[in-house]
């Protein structure tokens, strides 16, 4: 009995050894490639598209991309913070393999590159060679594919690369040509673009438009632009610096009190509010889509992705909209990078998916299918982009207008408290719009509030 048992054990160990031997001879690499991998993605909005995920899974039957959509503030604020602090505390790998980070939060995350995998140290494997992504590419090699200012939003203070850009928003003017015509204004897109070479001229045009509205309309806040507050953001993004100056230090230098660009954007926005050209309809509130349909406002400063939103919310206004150039030229709103958290388990699989997903070929697909504008300028000369006219916007050459604008922007240094400062100035403008404070009083109150804000006073 005992002997038999011993024999059995002997046999087992022999066969195990044999198996190991076989594996080490030739099967191992193949097995590693085919081992099932699950890549977990935390995203929001339309960052991850199901069709492309299916395509990737068809290319790699062993890979599962599991993506979950969250609310932006939840995923970039709460969830990512708790994930990173937990990782720093326990050093345990786990959680998501890819997280989508929006530019509003990029200032914060660029200050803590230790929360992310430095993508300069990653290399693409051979897995996507047949799909057009070469092997051995680090983020440094990929950089030249993307718009420089867009790339900069994913670079940490220590020059590490924490994220690769997804689509780009851009910013142009979506306007109702029928309402412009009714108000006696030029309504052809080239003539409209010429109406406002500067923001002051934009406000002037608004005044002319509002003068033609009836008293009953004005009573219901019918006006020119949906929300004058968007002028402030648009103007700031056309510059080279916002609240911080890149002085070579990690945190940058706070210049929100002295940067003339901020005061100028503030003053122009206040001028627009005082001229009554704002319908005071905040974007993404209940009243906003209503206004798109009933002509409460004739103008929206619209990133490329917002054109899809307008189509979905106001389908009956098809053909009444058009796209003109933004005053001064060039603009942006929003933008997302895909990042790999430092605590991710499947970094290689995540990096391979990411580099494929954000490569020009796939960005072109996303543009064609979902109107998400590519962040890879090599596509701007592709006829699919440059020749794209949108029937909803009266056949405007949307592809050309937006890509021209994208190329005009420069990188802006984003700092840690970016979002807190943005919120404070936004609230300040809101008080002026609601006529609670004069512009001067609100400006003083905003600076006073910021000088007490703990995010700024603790210096991180």
């Amino acid at each position: 009995m005992a002997k038999l048992f011993a024999n059995k054990r002997f046999l087992t160990s022999v066969s195990a050894l044999a198996l190991l031997g076989v594996m080490s001879i030739g099967i191992t690499p193949a097995q590693a490639e085919d081992a099932p991998v699950k890549v977990t993605v935390w995203s929001f909005g339309d960052v991850i598209q199901r069709d492309l995920v299916r395509q990737y899974q068809a290319l790699h039957p062993n890979v599962t991309i599991e993506y979950t959509k969250y609310n932006l503030d939840d995923v970039n604020g709460t969830k990512l913070i708790t994930q990173c602090s937990a990782y720093k505390l326990t050093k345990k790998l786990g959680g998501p393999d890819i997280v989508a980070v929006e530019v509003a939060y990029s200032g914060k995350w660029r200050a803590t590159p230790s929360c992310f995998q430095d993508l300069r140290k990653m290399e693409t494997s051979t897995t996507n060679v047949s799909a057009g992504v070469k092997a051995g590419l680090s983020a440094t090699d990929l950089k030249s594919d993307y718009l420089p200012w867009r790339w900069a939003q994913g670079v940490g203070y220590d020059d590490s690369v924490i994220g690769i850009p997804t689509d780009v928003g851009g910013l142009e003017v979506a306007y109702r040509s029928d309402l412009f015509k009714a108000a006696g204004l030029p309504y052809q897109r080239d003539a409209v673009s010429k109406l406002w070479p500067t923001w002051d001229k934009f406000v002037e045009t608004g005044k002319k438009y509002v003068a033609k509205l009836t008293a009953a309309q004005k009573k219901k806040n019918f006006s020119f632009i949906d929300d004058a507050g968007s002028i402030y953001t648009a103007m700031l993004n056309q510059g080279t610096s916002k609240y911080y100056d890149n002085d070579g230090t990690d945190a940058g230098k706070l210049v929100y009190k002295t940067n003339p660009a901020i005061k100028k954007a503030w003053d122009t926005t206040v001028a627009a509010m005082n001229a009554g050209i704002s319908s005071k309809t905040a974007q993404f509130t209940a009243d906003w889509p209503v206004g798109m349909n009933n002509g409460k406002f004739a103008v929206i400063l619209s990133p490329a992705w917002m054109t899809e939103y307008i189509k979905a919310q106001a389908p009956t206004t098809k053909g009444k909209w058009d796209i003109a150039n933004i005053p001064v030229g060039g603009g942006n709103q929003g933008g997302t990078q895909l990042t790999i958290p430092a605590g991710a388990v499947n970094k290689q699989a995540a990096y391979d998916f990411m580099t494929w997903y954000l490569a020009p070929a796939q960005q072109l697909q996303m543009f064609k299918k979902y109107g998400l504008f590519p962040s890879t300028p090599s596509l701007y000369s592709d006829p699919a982009v440059s020749g794209y006219n949108d029937p909803f916007f009266n056949n405007a050459p949307v592809g050309k207008i937006y890509s021209d604008g994208m190329l005009k922007l420069k990188p802006i240094f984003e700092g840690t408290c970016q979002r807190a400062i943005d919120m404070a100035f936004g609230a300040g403008l809101g008080r002026v719009q609601a006529k609670k404070q004069t512009s001067a009083a609100s400006w003083t109150a905003t600076l006073a509030a910021l000088s007490k804000d703990k995010c700024l006073t603790t210096g991180n």
């Binding site: 503030d73 604020g77 709460t78 913070i81 708790t82 990173c84 602090s85 720093k88 914060k108 200050a111 803590t112 230790s114 929360c115 219901k220 806040n221 319908s279 005071k280 309809t281 905040a282 993404f284 509130t285 209940a286 009243d287 209503v290 206004g291 409460k296 840690t416 408290c417 979002r419 807190a420 919120m423 404070a424 936004g426 609230a427 300040g428 403008l429 809101g430 008080r431 719009q433 609601a434 609670k436 404070q437 509030a449 007490k452 804000d453 703990k454 995010c455 603790t458 991180n460």
Partner: protein
């Protein structure tokens, strides 16, 4: 669990003795281990109550201890951590944003609690009516607002309260009054939030009041009506005194909830600062803003501790008032 098995044992034990005197019974020790459930001498009780305490330790006690500790630090969750003693608290007490949030919270609490109290007692009185048809259906309907998602409620109410196209403003205009901006106007925004809270909790509280009303002896009403008391007098002098303890209960629970109003103001304005002049920033919204927009976890934890202190103070006041009321009752 343990109590029943022990008492069973003592009864059994006493049967075996010749003289089952109640005095001796006390001295009988529990039987020695003989196997089986009873032999564990009530240890099973710990096992069965354990899930609650384990959950409480993880999700209740641990966060309380953690936030109490970090309140004394300058605690950036992913950056620098430095002990600063009481500085968070002294800064907080000098922070006008905190006092503004406290004022807003109390105003919203008052606006949502007292009208709601009257309305839910009224609703309960209607439901108590003997001749009401479909009682169960009515009672079920009352709970529907309570199980609706807060976010859904906030979105629907956001549309109703809309400044330019909202239904409520259309009605206001119909009566010849100017349209109200339910977001920018401070008091109006509090009314809007209080309405959402009232809508959500009124039915729930009505059911609690109803249960309490049904416990009032029918004879009291009979003798009252024999004495010629009208329905209104009966309500005033029989029903209301009978509800005294329930009212206190509802008030205390409502106060604890009311001081933690969060989702409604967050979704009303869509921002963490509670409006352009912080007009509907509540205590918990301020806490959240400090933690997740300014990344000041220590400061936010200090806010949390002060909220606890405030809830304690208000509860003590409530308790003292109730004690006084009930002692007056016995005089």
């Amino acid at each position: 669990m343990s109590v029943t098995s022990d008492s069973l044992k003592s009864v059994k034990g006493s049967r075996r003795k010749s003289a089952p005197s109640p005095w001796r019974q006390k001295k009988i020790k529990p039987a020695k281990d003989t196997g089986g459930l009873a032999s564990l001498n009530g240890k099973w009780g710990y096992l069965f109550t354990a899930p609650f305490f384990i959950m409480f330790l993880i999700f209740g006690l641990a966060p309380i201890v953690y936030s109490t500790v970090i309140a004394f630090f300058n605690w950036d969750p992913i950056g620098e951590i430095k002990y600063i003693g009481l500085q968070n608290f002294t800064e907080l007490l000098a922070d006008d944003r905190f006092w503004l949030a406290l004022g807003n919270t109390l105003e919203i609490w008052a606006l949502s609690t007292f009208p709601q109290l009257a309305m839910s007692i009224g609703l309960a009185a209607i439901l108590r009516n003997k001749f009401l048809k479909g009682k169960t259906a009515w009672r079920t309907v009352l709970l529907v607002p309570n199980i609706t998602s807060v976010i859904a409620v906030a979105i629907v109410f956001g549309q109703l309260f809309g400044r330019d196209f909202g239904m409520i403003n259309n009605v206001i205009e119909l009566f010849g009054f100017p349209r109200v901006d339910f977001i920018e106007n401070s008091f109006a925004s509090h009314v809007a939030i209080a309405t959402m809270i009232t809508w959500r909790w009124m039915g729930y509280n009505a059911l609690i009041f109803l249960a309490s009303m049904l416990a009032i002896p029918e004879e009291l009403y009979e003798s009252a009506s024999l004495d010629g008391a009208s329905a209104w007098k009966q309500f005033l002098y029989v029903t209301l005194p009978g509800l005294r303890n329930t009212i206190t209960f509802v008030l205390i629970v409502g106060t604890i909830g009311g001081l933690q109003v969060f989702a409604e103001p967050l979704t009303l304005g869509g921002g963490l600062s509670g409006g352009s002049s912080r007009q509907f920033s509540t205590l918990t919204l301020f806490l959240y803003e400090q933690a997740f927009a300014s990344y000041q976890w220590g400061y936010a934890a200090a806010v949390g501790i002060l909220i606890t202190v405030i809830v304690l103070i208000v509860s003590v006041i409530n308790f003292v008032i109730t004690r006084r009321l009930s002692s007056e009752d016995t005089k």
